[in-house]
Amino acid sequence: MRFVRKKLISLFFVLLAVTALSFFMLRLLPGDTARVVCGISCDEAGYQQTRADLGLNDPVPVQYVRWLGKTLTGDMGISARNKQPVSEAIKERLPVTLELLIYSQLIALGVAIPLGLIAAQRAGGIFDRVSTTVAFGLLSIPSFVVAILLILIFAVNLGWFPSVGYVKFSEDPLENLHDLFLPALTLAVAEMAVYMRLLRTDLISTLQEDYITMAKAKGITSRRVLLRHAFRPSTFSLVTVAGLNFGRLIGGAFIVEVIFAINGIGRYIVDGILGRDYIPVQGGVVVVAVAYVLINFAIDLLYAVIDPRIRHARAIV
């Protein structure tokens, strides 16, 4: 419980700092903040309106608290370009990004687990060596290069998947999964290399445990030993890293969404930046950053639940 309390306190301060940073970003803009926020086609009335909305005449802490209060109640301002409320746009786009992230994690795990099992079974063998090399190479390819290659091979040359655009999941789930395969695969490529190596490393150390020798001595086939005895205890760091990667993948999603023209939150932020439309950028940043903090927090707790050593780390030290 002490652990949870401590984590909650730190969560509170991190959230405070993250929201404060997101808030102050807007103040970093050079020039008259209201003028810049109001956009290119800003008339005097719009300018006064923006000034009033931002409350620039008040002391900064007051501005922050008011902004935080509004954001918490779902009022994140209005886009200067198309007058759409930011919260509405985010509500539309967040599920799309979320689907993309989950999809890519599933692909990555689906490829990584069998390969990791095979590699670990004969550590040092040909398959293991080849997969190590390939994994190393995959990790050095930036996501936008992966995307270009995948589009070139699967969309342009083979024509199996579309290079841009998709059908909404609610309209046709199967078609949606088909359309989003290339973007999800792009994100998954680096992940699968990481997961495969993690699983392999953990499996190899598990396979050196006494109970594995015992199981083998009893005459259980090595396949069964691997799947039934060694696999589960070896997935610990895999689960953690997969969880932590959700946050990391958000960064990758920015680029992938732009390339494949997916209306997710990453593209929303990038479009805002390119169009000098700053209120949506601020809204997007704060939502993504808070989500990231919360996901990491949840994983920390989950980790502690799975591994009692962490829960009791204080007692040991």
Binding site: F13, V14, L28, A123, F144, I204, L244, V270, A304
Partner: protein, 345 residues
């Protein structure tokens, strides 16, 4: 020189530190996970690079085996040196201007363009505006390499000082410093870099480098702090203190030399991550403004003509990939080299 431990330091919690030990257990993986790259791809590689080699069956218990950097390392370094040299020499090389537009557009590799009786030979062809690809690659290398280097040097200096202070003085100061590092880590890396560039509204090489460098501070600070905590408990520090050495002398003469090696090998990989990060920003059109060529920008421009002239995107992609791969490989070898040496002592 005193023997450093072969363990990666983030997992070693020295007693007496007030900064949550649980957090360190939890985050032993995230140091690497979060040495970020916009682009999202390179982010986890450090963790992965660790995983590639620890517990390798033929390495377990083989600390006594003398390791070499190996041929691969020299090939990798050679490539990086070659690119660096080209980048430095770009102004004096017999190249066309990287922004010179000509009527010979989308020329393939090894083609000669004849215009008004003058033959221009394009080794790597031209892009869709007729600009010489080789020239743009070499000029683009200047951006990529400077950003990679400046970002990591900045991260090393700031992160290194924070880590040394936090790890040496411990107590409240450590809590405060590492707490603020947690806040930095709380932002997804690309988002933070993007936000800095957007809201300062400045796209010079320096600002881009600093934006990426800021993202690298927190992981470096963590690594340095963890090593400092570990070395702070060692006998040679105690001996130095007994002899009357001041804190600043202990930090600079006893701890710093021990901490610097693991951090430097980490920094080589960090340069690769920063280059990918810059590439990602350039790809989004948010790095140095055109017409300055950047690798990421070239790939992005080539994306529009992927169907007809894939080489325009593929050539810069290949150069970027090779450079990142070679840096990763070299960094990995250096790290392994020192680790093994450490293990053998």
């Amino acid at each position: 020189m005193p023997a450093p431990s072969s363990e990666f330091p983030a997992q070693n919690q020295a007693p007496g530190s007030d900064y949550f030990p649980e957090a360190d257990l939890l985050e032993s993986g995230s140091m690497a996970t979060e040495l970020v790259g916009p682009g999202g791809i390179a982010d986890g590689q450090v963790r992965e690079l660790e995983a590639l080699h620890i517990l390798d069956p033929d390495q377990v218990g083989s600390g006594a085996i003398k390791k070499r950097l190996g041929l691969g390392f020299w090939i990798a370094s050679g490539w990086v040196a070659f690119i660096t040299l080209l980048a430095i020499l770009a102004p004096v090389l017999p190249l066309e201007s990287p922004s010179k537009v000509s009527s010979c557009i989308k020329y393939p590799i090894l083609s000669t363009c004849t215009k008004a009786g003058v033959d221009t030979f394009h080794v790597l062809g031209t892009d869709s505006l007729g600009r010489d690809t080789l020239s743009r690659i070499i000029w683009g290398a200047r951006v990529s390499l400077s950003v990679g280097l400046i970002a990591i040097v900045f991260g090393l200096i700031v992160g290194g000082i924070i880590g040394l202070i936090a790890g040496f003085y411990k107590g409240r100061l450590e809590g405060l410093l590492m707490g603020s590092m947690d806040v930095l880590l709380a932002f997804p890396a690309l988002l933070l870099a993007l936000a800095i560039i957007t809201f300062t509204n400045n796209r010079s090489i320096l600002v881009i480098s600093l934006a990426i460098g800021i993202v690298s501070i927190a992981p470096i600070a963590r690594l340095v702090r963890a090593s400092t905590l570990m070395f702070g408990e060692r006998e040679f520090v105690l001996a130095s203190r007994t002899l009357g050495a001041s804190n600043s002398r202990i930090i600079s003469r006893e701890i710093f030399p021990n901490v610097v090696l693991p951090v430097l090998s980490f920094a080589i990989i960090g340069v690769a991550v920063a280059i990918v990060a810059e590439g990602g920003l350039a790809f989004l059109g948010l790095s140095v403004a055109p017409p300055t060529p950047t690798w990421g920008g070239m790939i992005n421009e080539g994306r529009n003509v992927l169907e007809t002239d894939p080489q325009i995107a593929l050539i810069p992609s290949a150069v970027l990939f090779l450079t990142v791969l070679m840096l990763n490989f070299a960094g990995d070898r250096v790290r392994e080299y020192f680790d093994v040496k450490e293990g053998g002592l």
